[in-house]
Amino acid sequence: MAELLEVNGISVTFDGFKAINNLAFSIGYAELRAIIGPNGAGKTTFMDIVTGKTRPDEGSVLWGEKSISLLSKSESQIANLGIGRKFQKPTVFEDQSVRDNLMMALKAKRTPWAVLFHRGSDGETARIEELAAEIGLKDALDRRAGDLSHGQKQWLEIGMLLAQDPQLLLVDEPAAGMTVDERNKTTEILKRAAKTRAVVVVEHDMEFIRNLDCKVTCLHEGSVLAEGSLDFVTSNKDVIDVYLGR
């Protein structure tokens, strides 16, 4: 099949509130996609469903060439299938060094025994250096992650995602609270990543999305309102109505 992830007809209700309503969405193997939408449109809930945090009431979520259903899988299983997720708030392990953070994320056996007797190989060390260079934290490898700046934490988290070597990256508001320079750098990192894998970015900042230069999906009240280039979507009458609250 041509698509990496195919979401069909999912709905989920919280205490009578329909957070996701018959949503359909798909993304290819090497594609960059931006998701926009007003608050409460269901962007985060959508990510929760794909990553296994929330179970939908109905619908299907199919993954990869073999069309595996993700609905019965746990979060860690889904992550191991190749879906990485970055949260809205930067969540890195603040008590540990940047190197340890990346080491934990690095693709390797994930059972307690394997981890207990794990010794960093030269290949892994090299890969970590490479990743650190990619996210601009080469000089900060042995610093405590908690001592990093806000933007650096965001990059570290993206770096950890890349270390997992996932086929699909779900990135929630990566540019929030960044300076212009930092944003540009983030754009670069994401665009580069999307060359070899699928990347889904949820963002409010239109300027940032314009720089990403990719297909845009606009969500509203839990379903897709419009899909296409940024210009196409922003000129859509429904989208304007929703954003301007008409």
Binding site: S74, S76, F87, T91, D95, Q96, M104, T111, P112, L116
Partner: protein, 392 residues
């Protein structure tokens, strides 16, 4: 493997410092003991010190599960008690068997096997009005099996309980209360006379090693002291190996942000279960070493309050640093012995005399509040500060 250990020790000199200190302390106590030295340390104090080492051992387990993995277990003394019961069963059975056989050897007609077993049963269970051996005593005559059970019973209980609790994603204070309920349930169960473990009488006479009646308690106490010190050193090394490995990083990651670890692809429940079971086993071993020194075990030992004191020790010692747990357990439990033993001088205030036997717990409770509020890193935290100053 040897090379690995050397490398590890070189990387973590603090482990060497700890093991060295422990060895020195053991040597000092040996030299001072009545059995093998000048005798300025009384046998009963050797036992107190040995028991304190066992407390340090379970404190290590507590620190691993709480300080590193973030699970505030209020039930680890259940495992401690179970370990003690498992070894206690053999000690009591084997010793009673010798006593019964000696008594019966005077009879004209040699006793049958069944008569011997019945007599042992009456000796052990007469106090709860029974004489039959319950199922759980099936292996009590086999030392090696009971020794294995010291590890297996706490381990399996932790496995089942942990699997249930972690699977349903019970976390935080809920989990703490659930572990407390576990130990409460166990102690209430053991309080019954038909629990098969002699109800609130518990198991007694554990300080006497079967077949070694000729060996004085002076010597036996030193054996157990050495065993406790050895177990403490080994566990310290093992736990340190874990915390300094990638596993340690992940476990700390779980403590700080469980969901993130999960999305990194780690099966968080499996890791928690691993740590929970491991610490339960360490607690069981600590209990098996403790109760032969205490001489008696009864269900009151695993009442919820015991596990809370364990948390108090670790918190005061400073959690998240293994040596902190050891210092906390040793410091608080020895202090507690001193205060409640009536050795501390009373303070006359004129209108009222503060008797430490009565007021020690008040002092402990309040100092615990103060430590939680103002010194969350505990005594170990003060240590860290000193070391860092030394560096600068």
């Amino acid at each position: 493997m040897n090379g690995l250990l050397t490398k590890f020790l070189l990387k973590n000199p603090s482990v060497l410092v700890f093991l060295g200190a422990l060895a020195l302390f053991t040597a000092f106590v040996s030299v001072g003991s009545e059995a093998f030295g000048w005798g300025f340390i009384s046998t009963s104090f050797v036992k107190t010190l040995g028991k304190t080492l066992c407390f340090c051992l379970i404190a290590i387990a507590m620190d691993l599960i709480w300080g590193y993995c973030g699970i505030l277990s209020l039930g680890h003394f259940a495992f401690f008690g179970l370990g003690g019961y498992m070894l206690g069963m053999w000690l009591m059975y084997a010793r009673t068997e010798i006593i019964v056989q000696t008594a019966m050897s005077n009879e004209v007609i040699p006793p049958t096997d069944q008569e011997v077993i019945d007599a042992i049963g009456t000796q052990i269970f007469g106090v709860v009005g029974g004489s039959d051996f319950p199922m759980i005593w099936a292996f009590a005559h086999l030392f090696w099996v009971q020794l294995a059970l010291v590890v297996l019973v706490p381990g399996i209980l932790a496995l089942v309980f942990g699997w249930l609790a972690f699977r349903s994603r019970v976390t935080g204070v809920y989990l703490s209360i659930l572990t407390q309920a576990m130990t409460l349930a166990l102690s209430l169960y053991l309080f019954q006379n038909d629990s098969g473990l002699r109800g609130n009488n518990g198991l007694s006479g554990l300080q006497n090693l079967p077949g070694l009646d000729d060996v004085s308690q002076d010597i036996v106490s030193m054996w157990f002291f050495w065993a406790s010190a050895f177990a403490l050193g080994l566990s310290y090394l093992l736990v340190k190996l874990i915390t300094e490995s990638k596993l340690g990083n992940i476990v700390r990651g779980i403590r700080d942000d469980e969901a993130r670890v999960r999305f990194l692809g780690y099966n968080v429940e499996g890791y928690k279960l691993f740590v929970f079971v491991l610490t339960a086993i360490i607690a069981g071993i600590a209990g098996a070493l403790y109760y032969p020194q205490a001489g008696i075990i009864n269900p009151a030992e695993i009442a919820p309050i015991a596990s809370i004191y364990l948390a108090v020790w670790v918190a005061i010692g400073g959690r998240g640093r293994i040596y902190g747990a050891v210092i906390g357990a040793a410091f608080v439990s020895l202090l507690s012995t001193w205060f409640t033993g009536g050795q501390a001088p009373d303070i006359p205030l004129g209108f009222y005399t503060i008797k430490w036997v009565d007021w020690w717990l008040v002092l402990l409770g309040l100092s615990f509040v103060i430590v939680t509020l103002y010194f969350p890193k505990g005594i170990g935290g003060l240590f860290d500060r000193l070391v860092r100053k030394g560096d600068a």
